[in-house]
């Protein structure tokens, strides 16, 4: 039971109408907030009591339709699920409410999610299966097989991860975490027959899984605990297992670790760059390497340190390796 029942919170709310405004601005409202209120309650109160023109999306009010996602002090949330008091505990009682992406705002907190849906559509987010027109029985999936989806099917397409992903922010072609979670959801389904097609799509440079910077933001932000980066890792694994990993800098970068560890126990950093980039590609790293060398930051091959009990590591690599490249 919360001991404080209500407190004053100042809300700075992003306002912008693409039809009439050149630039966005913020309106400030100070309200008494009670401990049972969620962000959507506040938006409703602002709209009903202060400014009827405030625009935002809402529908289910139960955290399942995904349309009410916005950002509070930079954190992506579902407005109908996030308790104000929890946010105040982290950020204090000055709360900034913004759309998921300010550059995509159409009206106030409403954004144009076209890029999100385009990316979603591009990975074939549906089950591909030859089925009889009048099947005699259902196509049953065992509980064990259903578990393989790793709850990727919990995604409600709210876009919180998509508009928080730093890789996507600077690379328009990147599919983004939600699309990858969907790609995994269908490719991991035992009934699906398009898994290899989908893996080819997510294996492409610039748009695919190799461009993820592994920041874990998508795992952090997802209100449904879908953990997209976990699915991205699974897609990496599936690309290797399906034997369709292209021999390029991205795949060699992952494989190079196994080679290095087998040889030294540790990572041979210089050799990893050479192995990943190839003998010609590595040349572009020479200027930085020289600067590092001058500062004693490069270990020459003959001085490469080794882990103790290397024989143990070698033995484990031999017996525990599950994929070939």
């Amino acid at each position: 039971m919360d001991t404080i029942k209500s407190q004053q919170v100042t809300f700075k709310v992003f306002r912008f109408n693409e039809e009439t405004d050149y630039l966005p601005y913020y309106n400030t409202y100070t309200l008494d907030v009670t401990h049972e209120e969620v962000v959507l309650d506040i938006l409703n109160r602002i709209k009903w009591d202060h400014d009827g023109s405030l625009s935002y999306r809402r529908s289910c009010r139960h955290g399942i339709c995904g349309v009410c996602s916005i950002k509070v002090n930079g954190k992506g949330i579902l407005a109908c699920k996030s308790r104000l008091f929890d946010l105040v505990e982290v950020f204090g009682n000055e709360i900034t409410i913004e759309p998921l992406s300010t550059k995509r705002a159409i009206k106030d907190l409403i954004i144009d999610k076209k890029d999100f849906w385009d990316n979603h559509a591009a990975i074939k987010p549906y089950l591909v299966s030859e089925i009889e027109e009048h099947p005699a029985q259902e196509h049953l999936v065992s509980p064990h097989d259903a578990e393989k989806l790793l709850e990727a099917d919990y995604c409600i397409q709210c876009g919180a991860c998509h508009y928080s992903c730093p890789a996507l922010e600077v690379n328009d072609s990147f599919f983004g975490p939600a699309a990858f979670a969907a790609a995994y959801r269908f490719s991991a389904d035992v009934r699906d027959e398009a898994s290899v097609d989908r893996l080819h799509i997510v294996n492409e440079e610039a748009q695919g899984v190799w461009d993820c910077v592994k920041c874990m933001e998508c795992a952090e932000v997802c209100p449904k605990e879908v953990n997209p980066i976990e699915k991205i890792t699974k897609l990496h694994n599936m690309v290797f297992e399906a034997g369709i990993a292209k021999n390029n800098v991205a795949t060699r970068h992952a494989v190079g670790f196994a080679h290095s560890i087998e040889k030294h126990g540790l990572l041979d950093e210089g050799e990893l760059v050479r192995y990943s980039e190839g003998n010609i590609g590595v040349l572009k790293h020479v200027p930085v390497a020289l600067k590092m060398f001058a500062k004693g930051k490069i270990v020459l091959p003959w001085n490469m340190p080794k882990a103790d009990k290397l024989d143990e590591i070698k033995k484990l690599i031999k017996s525990s390796s599950t994929v070939k490249f």
């Binding site: 730093p166 993820c212 560890i261 004693g296 930051k297 033995k315 484990l316 994929v323």
Partner: protein
């Protein structure tokens, strides 16, 4: 207070491209009276890439590293955010999945080892904050960093996913408003600078396969710190350090703006405040010159 003692997992970087990380860790531990037993048998954690190629192999190797800490009966301390994540993630997965743990242990048995799950895993940042104590650090400061505005750069893998990291931290912090590094800066007498990018990604893990993405993220981070009037940056992650210290030329080109700041390892900052010499802390090993000491 009982003497603090940890099993030190150095990771690879401290042995290769950031020798100053190793030097400053030892210098600070020495000042604070913390005993570190180096896990010389440990292998590379896979740096979040080996698992993309071979997840099971990555689990086995990380479990082996933890098994060595367990043999010493010590908490494992890491000095790299990515080592921290990979090791803590391995522990989490094995401790929550008996079947997987048995499979991994069947492999470890081949070399006479067993993963039990008895050792905790923490990063040196949290060891000195949670176990040693900020107040005691404050008392030991002999050269307060009072003339500096210092920009904390947290690095992804110490603060996200918070669920995992909070399992090991005694005083969990928010992934959206972490305080550990800010508090440490203040304890060392400096002023901590607030800027949006302090919890963002440096781009390190995509440097080879997505160089433009990586360079822009690096550039944004340094630019954010510069715009907030920082004199220098500080990070607990040697990978962030490498990116922010050695890659500013690429970042400047990608961003179309000259960005560069000295970037110190968290240990170097603490070491300076505790009176260690620049040489002990390896400040001469930086590519972006540390010109204020």
């Amino acid at each position: 207070m009982e003497k603090l003692k940890y099993a030190l997992f150095t990771g690879c970087t401290a042995k290769e491209s950031t020798p100053e990380q190793m030097m400053s860790t030892l210098a600070v531990a020495n000042k604070l009276g913390i005993e570190l037993v180096e896990l010389t048998e440990a292998s590379c954690c896979g740096a979040s890439h080996l698992q993309d190629y071979d997840d099971f192999l990555s689990l086995v190797l990380n479990a082996r590293n933890i098994a060595y800490a367990e043999k010493h009966g010590l908490t494992m301390v890491t000095i790299c955010n990515t080592c921290q994540l990979n090791t803590a993630m391995t522990k989490h997965r094995l401790d929550h999945n008996a079947e997987l743990k048995a499979k991994v242990n069947a492999k470890l048995a081949e070399v006479g080892l067993e993963y039990k799950g008895t050792s905790q895993i923490t990063h040196f940042l949290y060891a000195i904050i949670d176990d040693f104590g900020l107040d005691k650090i404050k008392e030991m400061v002999v050269k307060p960093l009072s003339q500096f505005n210092i920009a904390p750069f947290y690095g992804c893998h110490n603060i996200r996913p918070s669920e995992l990291q909070n399992e090991t931290h005694k005083s969990p912090e928010s992934a959206y408003k972490p305080t550990s590094l800010d508090d440490l800066i203040v304890a060392c007498g400096g002023a901590s600078v607030d800027y949006v990018e302090k919890t963002k990604c440096c781009g390190f893990h995509a440097e080879l396969q997505a160089p433009r993405t990586a360079a822009l993220l690096t550039g944004n981070a340094v630019a954010g710190a510069m715009d907030a009037n920082a004199d220098w940056m500080v990070t607990p992650c040697p990978l962030c350090h490498l990116k922010l210290d050695t890659q500013t030329h690429h970042a400047s080109v990608a961003l179309g703006r000259e960005v560069s700041l000295p970037v110190l390892h968290m240990q170097q900052m603490v070491g300076l405040a505790l009176g260690c010499t620049p040489a002990e802390l390896g400040l001469n090993h930086h590519v972006t010159k540390v010109d204020f000491v």
